[in-house]
């Protein structure tokens, strides 16, 4: 009504009535319109690219939808089926092993790398940039290189280790043996995720005021003591956020396993995303595929919830 009233006032005071363009602008500049207008594009993107597929996934997971035929509603049958399937149980186990080991390595190595990068050394900027490379190159490409390094016939890893006398020839068949294959995919995941970890932790380190360290030194704290009682407590909020992100990325990893093992040998490296892809898209069983991928959701939601609560408490 504000616009209408203003128009009347304008007419009453004898000032010329604003043109339609001006009125449209006036309408647009109201806080509630403009604010929502700014959010709208992002909202549309989220609705189209996140909410809609998510809704469809839920719908698919409750139906016996196959590629090429309209599905019927089957309730929780898909979930019952996959829970009873040994391959899925193995996938759940794999996902936890993969995520926990990979994230643990990334925390330790990431903090370590960040401390190294924090020091002053020659070509600091260049090296800090270069460290990000594994994170920046498309995973599918870098993983291909790793896959080639672990190849059964031409493994560079084995060749080097044999030449160095660490292992005896012919060396392990990395991608063909259960533990080795898991170790290989975890190693690649750590290699890829480490820079992200290190750079964020580095940002955290930079923000710690020097005075704390000086005070600690005055009190006679050793370098371990300074790390333990100054660095670590002050890094906690940053660490919590980066662990949260890293857990999500690692849990939902797809490329590394798909390129290197396709879930083999005998499904011992399958993760939720690769199994869902295999069953839903390759196999055409969209209902079960969706149900498998939806298992990620409650687990990740729990991780997010716990982490966020922890951060808030801090």
């Amino acid at each position: 009504m504000a616009v209408g009233q203003r128009a009347i006032e304008a007419a009453g005071t004898g000032v010329a009535r604003p043109g339609p363009l001006a009125r449209a602008r006036e309408w647009w500049e109201q806080e509630h319109v403009f604010g929502y207008g700014l959010i709208l594009p992002a909202l549309l993107l989220i609705v189209c690219l996140v909410a809609y597929p998510f809704g469809m996934a839920i719908y698919f997971s409750l139906s016996d939808y196959w590629v090429g035929s309209p599905g019927n509603f089957v309730g929780l049958e898909n979930f019952r089926d996959i829970l009873g399937n040994e391959v899925f149980q193995r996938t759940v186990y794999n996902s936890f092993v993969f995520t926990s080991i990979a994230v643990a390595f990334k925390i330790v190595l990431g903090v370590w790398l960040a401390m190294l990068l924090f020091r002053n050394f020659k070509l600091k900027r260049l090296i800090r940039g270069a460290v990000l490379l594994p994170w920046v190159i498309p995973t599918a490409l870098s993983t291909l290189a790793w896959w080639w390094m672990f190849d059964s016939l031409y493994s560079v890893v084995n060749w080097t280790a044999i030449r160095l006398g660490i292992i005896s020839p012919p060396g392990p068949n990395w991608l063909g043996m259960t533990e080795y294959a898991m170790a290989a995919v975890i190693a690649v995941n750590v290699w890829r995720g480490l820079p992200f970890f290190a750079i964020i932790v580095l940002a955290g380190l930079v923000s710690i005021p020097r005075e704390y360290y000086e005070a600690a030194e005055v009190d006679g704290a050793s370098s371990w003591g300074r790390f333990r009682h100054v660095t670590l407590p002050l890094l906690k909020p940053v660490l919590a956020v980066v662990i949260l992100f890293s857990t999500i990325f690692t849990f939902s990893d797809f490329n590394i396993v798909y390129v290197m093992t396709r879930g083999g040998p005998v499904n011992t490296t399958h993760l939720f995303a690769t199994l869902a892809y295999q069953v839903g898209l390759n196999g055409g069983n969209l209902g079960q595929g969706a149900a498998i991928s939806l298992f990620l959701f409650p687990m990740l939601a729990a991780v997010v919830f716990l982490q966020l609560r922890y951060i808030r408490k801090e």
Partner: protein, 434 residues
């Protein structure tokens, strides 16, 4: 300005209305505005020259028939979604490249092409037996077999000569010669891993021993049998005595590398390693040769990829579509297409398979004959969604991998049986009724 009288206006207007009404009733554009357009959907061929030749034929046919023929190609993984969308909306292309279980899934949306099949069969010396197995449903012919890809044995002649052994005619013989070859330092290789070749070879071996995965009804698991036990015991021996553990991590290109590296002596694969060696002028090309896929007590069988064409029954150009396919299947045209594909596309008709590209090269001469014992996956069952699930979930190679990894054979088979049963669970029957 010319004025229009009332009478004149009524005459023109009513004429236009009647015309419009009949046009709407017929549901198509008036004849003067219509040039017939035939559309075909296919995959992006692995040998792109084959698509170019197909398009050239489409153009040539267009001129002859006074119509336009358009060939659309898309990535092969996108085909199933496209069939689904077209069948559901009952519109789209006229001719579609289908395969696997599609003739059954889309039985009610595909045109009966029995007449065309008879005609071509009479003209070109008959269809190979796998044709019927892969396109003939209870309702009749719902697909036209188009081409298949041979899957013979590839071996290194030098290694065989040095070991003083003959090429194996059966899988049992392969085990025997494989033992000798491995001792010589040149093992044989069959993937036992998550790759397509691992499936293909397993089907061949199982059938050769007289085994099957599902009964002919397509709904009953048949994997738990003595035959499967024999096959697994054979795999265990072969793995231990004639192969190396690397086969557990192989992908579809690993066996190519294995034979091209000069280390391997024998693989089961399409002719791609030999073609690659020729193309890259690798000296090993001279040492590589092919022989017929081995057999067993149950005969010789193989599971090569089989490609089919279908015509939608909602196509408005069904006759034109058949005319175009008649044109494409003409010996001179099909020959050109085979050459363009670099001998990759094998015809499903006997006379068309008689082509110098195979007969003049002694290393290829036996390839067309592989068609005699080819079957679609799942045989003796018809191809269906359960069979494709068994394949994409790598249940069969995983069963073998478990057994060679130390799991008792019985338990490995029991595991596979459970997985096969899950794949064929009842709900599949409702498929394809649209």
């Amino acid at each position: 300005m010319k004025t229009t009288s009332r009478r004149e206006f009524l005459r023109v207007a009513s004429g236009a209305t009647t015309g419009m009404a009949s046009w709407l009733a017929l549901g198509r554009a008036p004849a003067f505005a219509q040039k017939r357009e035939l559309t075909m959907l296919s995959w992006n061929h692995f040998v792109p020259a084959a698509d170019e030749e197909l398009r050239r034929q489409a153009q040539e046919f267009s001129k002859q028939a006074g119509a336009t023929v358009r060939v659309d190609t898309i990535a092969h993984l996108q085909l199933p979604a496209k069939w689904a969308a077209e069948a559901q909306s009952r519109s789209g292309h006229d001719i579609v490249h289908i395969g696997g279980a599609a003739p059954w899934l889309y039985e009610k949306s595909l045109l009966d092409v029995s007449g065309f099949i008879d005609e071509m069969g009479k003209k070109y010396g008959g269809w190979y037996p796998f044709s019927k197995e892969s396109a003939y449903t209870d309702a009749g012919w719902r697909g036209i077999p188009w081409f298949w890809i041979s899957f013979p044995a590839t071996y290194n002649e030098t290694h065989f000569k040095k070991a003083g052994v003959q090429t194996p005619k059966t899988w049992d013989e392969l085990l025997k010669v494989g033992r000798v070859l491995k001792k010589q330092g040149n093992p044989v290789g069959i993937p036992i891993s998550h790759c397509a070749d691992a499936n293909t070879t397993f089907w061949s071996v199982l059938w050769s021993y007289g085994g099957k995965v599902v009964e002919a009804d397509g709904k009953t698991s048949a994997i738990n049998s003595d035959k499967t036990t024999q096959v697994i015991e054979w795999y265990k021996e072969l793995y231990k005595d004639a192969m190396e553990p690397e086969v557990l991590s192989w992908d579809d290109a690993s066996n190519n590398r294995f034979i091209l590296s000069g280390k391997g002596s024998w693989i089961h694969n399409p002719i791609s390693p030999y073609n690659a060696a020729l193309a890259k002028k690798m000296p090993i090309a001279d040492e590589i040769n092919h022989h017929t896929s081995p057999g067993g007590p149950g005969g010789t069988h193989s599971a090569p990829p089989i490609q089919t064409l279908g015509i939608w029954n909602f196509s408005k150009n069904a006759e034109l579509a058949k005319d175009f396919l008649r044109f494409h299947f003409k010996k001179e045209n099909f020959d050109k297409w085979i050459v363009a594909s670099n001998a990759f596309n094998h015809p499903p008709l006997r006379d068309l398979a008689d082509h110098p590209i195979w007969s003049r090269n002694p290393k290829f001469a036996m390839l067309p004959g592989e068609a005699e014992f080819a079957h679609p996956r799942g045989w003796p069952a018809k191809p269906n969604a359960a069979v494709s699930l068994i394949d994409v979930n790598y249940i069969l190679p995983d069963m073998v991998a478990k057994a060679v990894g130390g799991m008792p054979t019985k338990r490995a088979i029991a595991w596979a049986e459970e997985q096969v049963k899950l794949a064929i669970q009842g709900k599949l029957e409702t498929k394809g009724k649209s």
